[in-house]
Subunit: 113 residues, 2 copies
């Protein structure tokens, strides 16, 4: 799911940028606040450490989030939204609302956000 440099349709790029099983969810947890790796790990249900690091790297390399290392002991790493990430927030909200509506009309239970 690495970003290429040409697409036949913009939605193809959309999918590469924020598609996949986890990226939207990761972004969701960063909307409210920047978070450390461990906090994200704890917040996001069932995500594995490996996948979390992978997805964070991809989101970072596409400039949607940024990664800041603090030289504490042990090191802490903070992830936060960049300007691109911020510009995505309303869209994520809309998707979320649309989905909640869908869920409620179709008796699908959503236990978290």
């Amino acid at each position: 799911m690495a970003v290429k440099n040409n697409y036949v349709c913009s939605l193809g790029l959309t999918i590469d940028l924020i598609g996949g099983k986890w990226k939207l969810m990761i972004l969701w947890y960063l909307i409210k606040d920047s978070k450390r790796f461990g906090e994200l790990k704890k917040s996001i249900p069932n995500i594995s450490q490996k996948v979390l690091t992978e997805q964070l790297k991809e989101l970072e390399s596409s400039q949607i989030i940024s990664r800041k290392v603090y030289p504490t002991v042990p090191v802490t790493v903070e992830y936060s939204m960049t300007a691109y990430g911020e510009s995505l927030i309303p869209l994520i909200h809309d998707l979320c609302e649309w989905t909640k509506q869908y869920a409620s009309e179709n008796d699908i239970e959503i236990s978290g956000d």
Copy 2:
């Protein structure tokens, strides 16, 4: 990517409903007009027949698109947006616009829509 009946986060459901490599793109081509199977196949670059039928079935079963069979010879099948699909159009547009903006700022070429 079948829709389950409970989720810990609404975005998990979002992904099941319209995530994956092809669903958004299929919907994109249905925004303008309803289309027959063959037209979709021709319009969507590089999609295989198998994947197209699979994805159409999933979108139909989640009531985002509808399928109508015309008893012509040979049969023609027309796919179109349902009310759910229609309600998704502005979100798809927004995603598309966001992505185009992203692409233009990052020298990513988009040859089609």
